[in-house]
Symmetry: C2
Subunit: 132 residues, 2 copies
């Protein structure tokens, strides 16, 4: 894993949170994007080599809607940049981690993504990202 | 804010988690440290320009012990590197954020640190870090 690609934060009201994080970080967001497959609308802020990604649900069966229902606004996942996502899936599976989707899927920001179940990673929802 | 300095993860059993994160990240930790003032024992892994910091309580009144009691293992805080921590405290206070300690205190890894209350930051416990 080469770097932290982004930190995903679940929010209830993206417009409000865009303004809040701009104020907090002293930066303006550089991109918003809707990921239909995941039912999310996202905003990105660049902080050094890492991004802060805000995530708002676009429908009630979105993973983010379910997360907010069970938990609360806050850090949702940590994404690591990897060179070869398929090789990392094989390595991590062998190392005993629980892979949520072994076949990488299309994520936001032009990435192939794979998630690891938080019960195998100390409660942290881990995402692997490979630039397409 | 110049970069994500580290991501703090609350763990129940540091020895077990050190092994888990070494396997996950494919790296060995580069430092362990006890911060008496905070009642924590920490381990650090370098990932690009950011660190992953694992935090285990060393006593029952430690913030990490209380966190694990109320919540569960997982992401505890996000720390941002700042150039001038006192100037950032003034800026963020003016911008409406709730500062937990206006006078920076000594944190792990030779840093002055200030925390922002998560209720003013979308549920994210934000730490500001300035290298001493």
């Amino acid at each position: 894993m080469r770097k932290i690609e982004h930190i995903g934060i679940a929010v209830a009201d993206l417009e409000k949170s865009n303004e809040l994080f701009a104020r907090l970080l002293g930066k303006t967001l550089f991109k918003t994007e809707i990921v239909e497959g995941e039912g999310v609308q996202t905003s990105f802020f660049q902080v050094g080599e890492t991004k802060v990604e805000l995530l708002q649900a676009t429908r009630t069966d979105s993973p983010i809607a379910k997360y907010l229902e069970k938990k609360a606004e806050g850090v949702h996942h940590i994404a690591f940049d990897v060179e070869d996502i398929n090789a990392e899936v094989i390595r991590l599976k062998k190392a005993g981690f629980e892979i949520l989707n072994e076949t990488p899927k299309q994520g936001a920001d032009n990435k192939l993504v794979v998630f690891l179940h938080p019960r195998s990673t100390n409660g942290v929802l881990v995402e692997l990202c490979q630039e397409i």
